[in-house]
């Protein structure tokens, strides 16, 4: 088999990436602007021995893919803002039961029903913090149709490696635009590690991750969303077990934040440095292309866990300019890791930042002294 090229939109590319990664179960609920992912999976999964099901809501979609994952399949759902809010309950369940799943959020304008057909990046903090309790997640952000495919594959591998929900935090711009894409005949698959005989189902290995006791394999595991001991049994009264469990689950991801970092670092000697992810990366790259060797750029393909050490690559940085299609959600995270002044460039309403708008932010950044400055476009 050879690689195939095609001309696809981002949502379809995401579905193809999932299939290439071996995803064989998809549960979803229609919602703009993510629906093409579900439609493609409905068309393709039965042809590769998989199952597609349209559930009654997004609560059920998230639940069904968790159930499917425990049955041993790579599973995925796709949604957008309001549906993402409904999934928060079972996202918490998946993190606490260490269930590998992939959740695609094709972000649109919020809050509430907001702008169903318009792009946004307003769910980045919800993705990190939206379910109750302390936990950590992995979130990826593609900025091209090719990356919709490649990062979906990567999402499945990370989900299995870390036994955690992984989010593909894309947006309407990337989900709906068409570009040329290479569909690889072979993609790298890193399978989840099956529970070994004699190993306790919730006891961590040297990476802080327990073996996965796939249902129906004779492991006879008990999986619960209650605080549990290493056998998997409820232990809700023990402060010690609870704290150890929560800290271990956070650390198994955060300790690897720089190891799994997936970033582009461009012009590290520059004084004015853009930080972006997703669709705004396209505008930043346009500006860098039109003004060679002028600006630095940190593009994040993995946003969570935040790869803080990559900020250190920009040794001469006088300002970080952060265009986001929200009011500065990742800028807040950057602020926690640096004393270099930050220029926040929010854009709401659905349109992508234009190159001219980023130049306006550059002018502000040239003289910025305050720790955080917002540019009103």
């Amino acid at each position: 088999m050879t690689d195939k090229t095609d001309f696809l939109n981002g949502n379809v590319a995401c579905a193809e990436g999932a299939l290439a990664a071996g995803c064989r179960f998809f549960a979803g609920y229609p919602i703009t602007p993510s629906t093409e992912v579900a439609e493609r999976m409905a068309l393709r999964l039965p042809k590769v021995g998989g199952v597609f099901i349209q559930m009654e809501d997004e609560l059920a979609s998230a639940a069904a893919i968790i159930g499917g994952s425990w049955a041993g399949a790579r599973t995925m759902t796709a949604t957008s803002g309001p549906g993402f809010s409904l999934m928060m309950e079972n996202i918490g369940y998946a993190t606490f039961t260490e269930t590998p799943i992939v959740i695609v959020n094709v972000q649109r304008g919020g809050p509430s029903t907001g702008q169903p057909t318009m792009a946004a990046q307003g769910d980045m903090l919800q993705c990190r913090y939206g379910s109750h309790g302390d936990y950590s997640v992995i979130a990826l952000s593609p900025s091209s149709v090719q990356e919709m495919y490649d990062l979906t594959v990567k999402a499945f591998n990370l989900a299995d490696r870390f036994r955690t929900p992984v989010f593909l935090m894309t947006d309407e711009t990337i989900g709906h635009m068409r570009e040329k894409i290479t569909l690889h005949s072979n993609v790298e698959i890193i399978p989840r590690r099956e529970l070994k005989e004699g190993e306790l189902p919730c006891a961590p290995d040297e990476n802080g991750v327990p073996g996965f006791g796939t249902f129906g394999m004779g492991h006879n595991v008990h999986i619960t969303g209650l605080t549990h001991n290493e056998k998997g049994y409820p232990a809700t009264d023990s402060a010690e077990i609870h704290e150890k469990l929560v800290r271990r689950q956070v650390r198994k991801i955060e300790d690897f934040r720089n190891e799994i970092a997936d970033v582009d670092i461009v012009n590290p000697d520059a004084e004015l440095v853009f930080i972006s992810y997703g669709a705004p990366t396209r505008t930043v790259r346009q500006l860098l292309n039109d003004n060679p060797d002028t600006y630095g750029h940190l593009n994040l393909r993995i946003v969570w866990p935040f790869p803080d050490e990559s900020l250190l690559a920009f040794k001469n940085a006088k300002a970080f300019i952060i265009p986001e299609m929200n009011l500065g959600q990742i800028a807040k995270e950057v602020r926690q890791h640096t004393n270099i002044p930050i220029v926040v460039v929010p854009k709401l309403g659905g349109a992508l930042h234009t190159p001219a708008e980023l130049l306006k932010a550059v002018e502000v950044a040239k003289t910025v002294k305050k720790p955080v400055t917002e540019v009103r476009l």
Partner: protein
Amino acid sequence: MKSEIRFSGLGGQGIITAAVILGRAAALYGGKHVVQTQSYGPEARGGASASAVIISDDPIYYPKVTDPDVYAIMSQEAYNKYGSHVKNDAVMLLDPGYVTSRPACRFFEVPATAEAKSQLGKTVFANVIMLGGILEATGIVSYDALEHAVLDSVPKGTEENNKRALAIGQELVRSQL
């Protein structure tokens, strides 16, 4: 070399399909860098429809069309929205059956809907006639590339009529050159 092409008209005219076919032709059979986008939302349900293609020799970063070089306009409403303030060196193809205004730039009248109905029996071929016209007016892709992309995209059994549609569009523009 970079070109921006804007398609606009009414829902059901194949405005988005036309942009996807042109994008596919340039990307898969023309060796170009291409980004195709379209309007979604209430305006894409039944009423107005708009789509765009950027075709470039170099990688395309900013994916949105800003100042198109080529327009294909198939409704007066679309003309009012996109066609009334075009740059002077743009080229516009318009369907005179729907559009009464005429732009300041170079333009071609391509009665795609009427010709599709009279020559091919169905108005569904109008968008491919428009594509034939764009090919003739701009040479933005090769004929072979466009034909490939059309044949990839259309239902089985309609290949011959679609090839004829391309030729009709080419001829309508050629006669005005």
